[in-house]
Symmetry: C2
């Protein structure tokens, strides 16, 4: 069966990744690139099948997966439509804050505190936060949503000594900025951010409502107070099909 003389578009059978999943990914990407017109209707299954050089069943499997994810919605006799075209744009700058950054892209922002605990810092973490090896830190696990859609999942670490009670403060205010303020820190800045990407772990799928095999953008970031003393290290995992990271390099 594998004589896949890739017709119009180029798609090759790949070891280990099902054809329907590759097609789902390409459709998802086409949506992100605004390759479909404004009606939000994607080409009919027969046309996609021909374009990708696969059977219609295979396209249907891809569309079914995207429908389960809430990306597409099919209507018998009418066609298949994109549910939401735009990615949320998450800006990174010296003054990065979560909900402020997303600004007017959604009407409602909220989040959950999944878990919090105090633990000894690993060697790497202690170094990043400028603490002595084994110093205690408070870890806070959160999920952020915009208009009810989960966008990201974060693990944050704060020095215990300076920010005792930060998890309660966060729980009360649902905002790191506000929690810091409650504890006497009135301003902080983003020092550095590293961005990588990887497949979603089972935890990500659960917390973000992703279909397994989805991609997450991972931002590892360090915030400091105005004197340059580290106050927070965070690993944030964004659903890559919902969020774009945006960097303005202004002078």
């Amino acid at each position: 069966m594998n004589g896949r003389t890739d017709g119009g578009d180029g798609l090759v059978r790949i070891n280990g990744v099902a054809l329907w999943r590759q097609i789902a990914d390409r459709i998802r990407q086409s949506i992100g690139n605004h390759e479909y017109d404004e009606t939000g209707m994607i080409p009919p299954e027969t046309e996609l099948a021909e374009r990708f050089g696969v059977n219609r069943h295979t396209v249907r499997a891809a569309v079914a997966a995207l429908s389960r994810e809430g990306v597409l919605r099919s209507e018998r006799g009418r066609g298949t439509f994109v549910v939401r075209q735009e990615l949320y744009s998450f800006p990174i700058s010296r003054r990065t804050r979560f909900s402020e950054g997303l600004g007017e892209q959604a009407r409602v922002f909220d989040g959950d505190l999944l878990e919090t605990c105090e633990e000894p810092a690993s060697a790497k973490l202690a170094e990043r936060l400028g603490l002595e090896a084994g110093a205690r830190v408070i870890r806070v696990e959160t999920v952020r949503r915009a208009d009810g859609v989960a966008l990201s999942r974060s693990s944050s670490w704060f020095p215990s000594e300076r920010f005792a009670g930060i998890s309660e403060a966060f729980l009360a205010t649902r905002s790191v900025t506000a929690a810091f303020r409650k504890l006497g820190l009135h301003d902080y800045v983003r020092k550095h951010t590293d961005v990588t990407a990887s497949h979603a772990m089972p935890d990500d799928c659960k917390a973000l409502g992703l279909s397994p095999g989805a991609i997450v953008l991972i931002a590892r970031s360090l915030n400091t107070d105005l004197d340059g003393v580290p106050v927070q290290y965070a690993v944030t995992r964004f659903a890559a099909d919902r969020v774009r990271i945006s960097i303005d390099s202004e002078a």
Copy 2:
């Protein structure tokens, strides 16, 4: 590490991605996170099989795939070893330049010009470059390598009118900075960068030597001259298991 406590297992049997490929991706990620000790030796197959809750055959398939990619090297009787531990870190700032940024992380940098042509700008591209709709642009497709390893693949667009001959200049110098200089533009700055992630397309796999199903980090960037006039729009696709994007938010 990281207190992530997925208790040893945490592998979901997902539709569309073969188990051995998921395991290969997790091993790749563990390497990126430095979860293996400095000897570079990964746990024996039986242990990995037990940890992931799969048959040893399946782990072997994953290790075989990573060995084909050059990520692992198995030695009979000794074990399986990581070939290169570190990700290359690609910094983004107002003065982003490709090889300067990678600096001392590799000994040899080079690249190929895959293809170049002149074409009319799409509506979106014209807007981004501040051109009239349908103005002509020069597109340049390149691949960049560090120490012989392909890191990224770029499509760049330059306004034809201002930068006629840029592809020849780039071909001669192998550097955008030098090519600009040849054409009389002595300095330029990075205005904006958008980062997303997606599965590698067949073209990426070919150009970057990726195994299918791999992930690419996609940076869409705009460079301007010192007067703020756009001079280059580029889409760069990085192999996510080789490169990390790094953002310093200095004042």
